[in-house]
């Protein structure tokens, strides 16, 4: 066991982990931050995406020990300071960008990373960026729409209101 210390959602967090402990296990089991989900074991579904030092990573494919000293943000740290939904979260609700909710945390974290890099992505850029996030419920239509809306674009003309 080794001790890891990191900042998670702005608060210091530490714990003893094995070498093989994944970041997602540390978040879910040690810190009880269960908003980050595990949907596969081959690093493809993206339900586990969190931000480490500002970059989107798959927390099921990173050892907790690798995040020692890092700034980690999870879905639990995304709302506004007053607890209200942030712009991306609100857009997902406004545009019905989620159904069962299981992939949603990863979708929001990826969307947030995308908009940080590319504040007004095209539809194609959004779809391309979501290559590592699988949703089985929505057909992606409303996820793409929500992300474009969150970027301030007018999505009123998109089919199927």
């Amino acid at each position: 066991m080794t001790k890891v210390t990191m900042t998670v959602n702005g608060k210091p967090a530490s714990g003893d982990v094995e070498g093989r402990t994944l970041l997602v296990q540390f978040l879910r089991e040690n810190l009880r931050l269960t908003g980050t989900h595990v949907g596969c074991d081959t690093s493809q579904c993206g339900a586990c995406v969190v931000h480490v030092d500002g970059k989107a990573v798959k927390s099921c494919t990173m050892l907790a020990a690798e995040a020692d000293g890092a700034e980690v943000t999870t879905i639990e740290g995304m709302a506004n300071a007053d607890g209200s939904l942030n712009t991306i979260q609100q857009a997902f609700q406004d545009h019905h960008g989620l159904q069962c909710g299981f992939c949603t945390p990863g979708m929001v974290m990826s969307a947030s990373a995308l908009l940080a890099d590319n504040p007004r992505p095209t539809e194609a850029e959004v779809r391309d960026y979501l290559e590592g996030n699988i949703c089985r419920c929505t057909g992606y239509h409303n996820i793409v729409k929500a992300i474009m809306a969150a970027s301030g674009q007018d999505v009123g003309a998109i089919a199927a209101e």
Binding site: R20, R28, E29, L33, T34, G35, T36, H37, V38, G39, C40, D41, T42, Q44, C45, A47, T74, I75, E76, M78, A79, L85, Q89, F92, Q93, D94, H96, L98, Q99, C100, G101, F102, C103, T104, P105, V108, E123, A124, V126, R127, D128, L130, E131, N133, I134, C135, R136, C137, T138, G139, Y140, H141, N142, I143, V144, K145, I158, A159, A160, E161
Partner: protein
């Protein structure tokens, strides 16, 4: 102006807030103090005789609590099948035992042999690897037709063959159908495969068993679409625990699509082990494990023949289907290729004579059961493909061929035993034509051609039967369960309402849509209504959510219970207003004496019910809580017309979906936003089936695509924005809301549209391709182009 509340409005989903902030409560988020973890040792061969299981080395490994094998379950029941099909000759299907842990033989890769309970998940897995299993590998049967040959290895030694049943429907029509084929002016024949799919809800299955020595009560937390059904099946048939000592909780569930309907061995195991060990026991599937333990879907091999007369009217339809059951009968598996498939073979058309033959076959593969649409996608796909092929053979417009054969008068009794209550297939086709811009196709095709691409257009219709269904009817058909739904409407003293529903929401938004109905009926604010579901300790006996039934059946139960509430509340209001009950009207949340300005507010009536000081105690009881069980009089019949435009890259065979339009008739719609979302998701799954997905086994029974590295899930760039419309509405005539159900339509209606479009693209390019089996992967399309 769209409504802003009540039925027909699209309020934002209230459940979204917890899901968007990481506050959802999924089964894997539940941890009980002191819990131990399970790892299953699963068969890595498809078929074998277990000669010995040596757990001695594993038992001594760190953290191991106990190791269970098939022997521990010898006095325990097997996993039951919930539907008995009777074959063509009046004999019951062959029904093999399905032990919780394998006994004697393993029958598919993934069949659980032993289970290790240990202090940590990794310790459990370490010990599972240390178990020594001596298996004599036997030849596996994978191909269905080979499995039925004389001398084929038997999946179950105690059955007479690998044939589960040979079903004929309607058997009495067979001779007349054959005769009609003899007289046909034209017969179109198509042989096709409906590919095996894996549902893949993003949340893998999880089970947590708990046991209280204090109360002798077991609790199972599980990823289920129907906790009461699990309680019934597991309690009564597997573990022998009476309902009052068994609670099943399905909290937030991360998608189901059918595969979380069924009762699984892991649920029974965790409940059993928790009792044995008096310790909570948790199992969380990895995705790899899900691929070989979740029930799969589809997997039909079909020959369909369509007979037409000289006027191109359909005169008869004949099909022969081989349906894969896998190694065991999953909970509702026998019903899927029969009653959920044969009964839909009329489609939207007035074909007078239909005969459907289905041979259900055991193979050494994972059990196959309902997956989104269940039977109806298989029916729709073969019917809409053979009609398209017929139109091409006859040189007629595929849309016009469909139109001339549409059923136009309702109610309509099909020759396959169901009665469509209502519909308007021309209306959805008209709407579709408006949406798809057929006139602009040629210009778009020319533009594609400039870029070296082939463009094609595919159109089809679909009908489905939802809201399953009258219990007395399904009982006659072999169901071993009732198919009603329940609701308890509990009005609290201050007027707020808790609705305990037997339906289960795992993405469908019941927590938002159901209150819209209650609020509309009572004229109160939706925020006063809370939906409670997914816990057998809290809700009345319910059958759960599948088959697009929640609103049609569960919603109807809720309406009935609310009507009882209104009746009682009117009695209370009449007393308070010193008026006759007959004169009381409920409007905008207040009870008024008709024709006067005398009224009493909703909250005053509900308070009186619980503080019955001024109350007709001699006439009615205090309190305001009512339960209703609703058993539908018929199925509901959503229908629609879909169009798909594809581009094919002739150099690589890659197909891209350029446009997709869906015009559906779901009857009345409670929340258009949610309905649209359901269609979107169904379309992506149908497109996934058509282009990407397909579980593949090698001849030894190894699943070749048992992870997302090889099983192609639709991703964001595989689909376009969809055009979806549900403004054509012929309300269901027999349920109080006039609703039909929308959850499966997209998955049912879209595969034929995609395949029709690709065939169209290839034929426009001069290729003599009449069919390609799904999934239309680049390699397959390229092979067809160069065949």
């Amino acid at each position: 102006m769209p409504k802003d509340h009540g039925i027909g409005a699209s309020p934002k989903r209230r459940e979204d807030v917890r899901f968007l902030t990481g506050a959802g409560n999924y089964t894997d988020d539940i941890n009980i103090h002191g819990q131990a973890y399970v790892a299953f040792l699963r068969s890595d061969v498809a078929h074998g005789r277990i000669k010995g299981v040596d757990t001695s080395a594993a038992t001594d490994m760190p953290g191991v609590v106990r190791i269970f094998t098939g022997a521990d379950f010898e006095g325990v029941g097997g996993l039951p099948c919930g539907w008995q099909v009777t074959d063509r000759h009046g004999e019951p299907m062959q029904e093999p035992a399905h032990p919780v842990l394998a006994q004697g033989k393993v029958r598919h890769v993934g069949d659980p042999i032993a289970a290790v309970v240990a202090d940590t998940p990794e310790q459990a897995r370490d010990a599972a690897e240390a178990i020594e299993v001596d298996i004599e590998e036997l030849p596996a049967v994978i191909d269905m037709k080979a499995a039925l040959k004389d001398g084929a290895p038997k999946v179950h030694d105690d059955l007479t063959s690998n044939l589960c049943y040979d079903w004929g429907f309607v058997e009495e029509n067979k001779a007349a159908v054959d005769e009609a084929f003899g007289k046909a002016a034209h017969v179109t024949t198509l042989e096709l495969v409906n590919n095996r799919l894996i549902a893949n809800p993003m949340e893998p299955r999880v089970a947590v068993g708990d046991y209280s020595r204090a109360t002798d009560e077991s609790t199972l937390y599980t990823t289920s679409q129907n906790p009461h059904v699990i309680r019934l099946l597991m309690g009564a048939f597997v573990l022998g625990i009476p309902e009052h000592k068994l609670r099943v909780v399905a909290p937030d569930v991360g998608g189901g699509f059918g595969t979380k309907i069924f009762h699984y061995a892991e649920e029974a195991f965790c409940t059993f082990a928790a009792r044995q060990l008096a310790r909570p026991v948790k199992w969380t599937a990895s995705r790899s494990e899900a691929f070989i333990s979740d029930a799969h879907g589809r997997d039909h091999v079909t020959k369909i023949e369509l007979a037409l007369n000289g006027d191109n009217n359909f005169t008869a339809l004949r099909t022969e289907t081989y349906a894969n059951m896998g190694a065991y009968l999953s909970t509702f598996a026998p019903s899927v290729p029969t009653w959920l498939h044969g009964t839909l073979m009329a489609g939207n058309y007035k074909t007078p004579l239909i005969y459907v033959n289905v041979k259900a076959v055991f193979t050494n593969t994972v059990p196959v059961d309902a997956y989104r649409g269940a039977g109806r996608p298989e029916a729709t796909y073969q019917l809409e493909r053979v009609i398209d092929k017929a139109a091409r053979e006859l040189g007629v417009d595929p849309i016009e061929l469909r139109r001339q054969n549409f059923i136009t008068e309702f109610p309509y009794a099909t020759p396959v035993a169901v009665e469509y209550d209502t519909g308007d297939y021309h209306a959805t086709m008209d709407k579709l034509l408006e949406m798809m811009d057929r006139d602009g196709f040629d210009a778009r095709a020319a533009e594609s051609q400039k870029r070296g691409k082939l463009r094609g257009l595919g159109v089809n219709c679909y009908i489905e039967a939802c809201g399953i269904a009258p219990s007395n009817l399904v009982g006659q058909l072999g169901a071993r369960a009732g198919l009603y739904e329940s609701a308890t409407v509990r009005v609290n003293a201050t007027g707020s309402i808790s609705v305990m529903t037997g339906s289960h929401s795992h993405g469908q938004g019941h927590e938002t849509a159901f209150p819209q109905v209650i609020a509309e009926m009572l004229g109160i604010d939706e925020s006063m209504v809370e939906i409670v579901h997914g816990d057998t300790a809290k809700t009345p006996m319910g059958m759960g959510t599948y088959g697009s039934r929640s609103l049609a059946v569960g919603g109807s139960a809720m309406v009935r219970a609310t009507e009882k509430i209104i009746n009682k509340a009117k009695k209370i209001a009449a007393h308070l207003l010193e008026a006759s009950e007959a004169d009381i009207e409920l409007k905008d949340g207040a009870f008024t004496v008709a024709g006067t300005d005398k009224s009493v507010a909703w909250g005053d009536v509900t308070l009186a019910a619980y503080v019955p000081h001024n109350y007709p105690l001699d006439e009615i009881e205090p309190g305001l809580e009512e339960t209703a069980f609703y058993d539908p009089a018929n199925f509901t019949y959503p229908a629609g017309a879909y169009a798909c435009e594809v581009e094919v890259d002739p150099d690589t065979g890659k197909v891209t979906i350029e446009r997709f339009a869906a015009a559906d008739d779901f009857g009345n719609v409670v929340n258009p936003m949610i309905v649209t979302g359901q269609v979107h998701g169904g379309l992506a799954q149908g497109i996934g089936q058509a282009l990407l997905e397909g579980a593949a086994y090698d001849e030894n029974g190894q699943l070749l695509n048992g992870s997302y590295m090889d099983y192609a899930m639709p991703r964001a760039d595989d689909v376009p924005f969809f055009q979806v419309d549900h403004s054509c509405q012929t309300p269901c005539t027999h349920n109080p809301l006039g609703v039909k159900g929308c959850g499966e339509a997209g998955a049912i209606g879209s595969p034929p549209a995609v395949v029709n479009a690709v065939v169209d693209a290839l034929q426009r390019a001069g290729r003599e391709v009449t069919h390609i089996d799904m999934p239309l992967s680049p390699a397959r399309v390229w092979a067809a182009l160069n065949g």
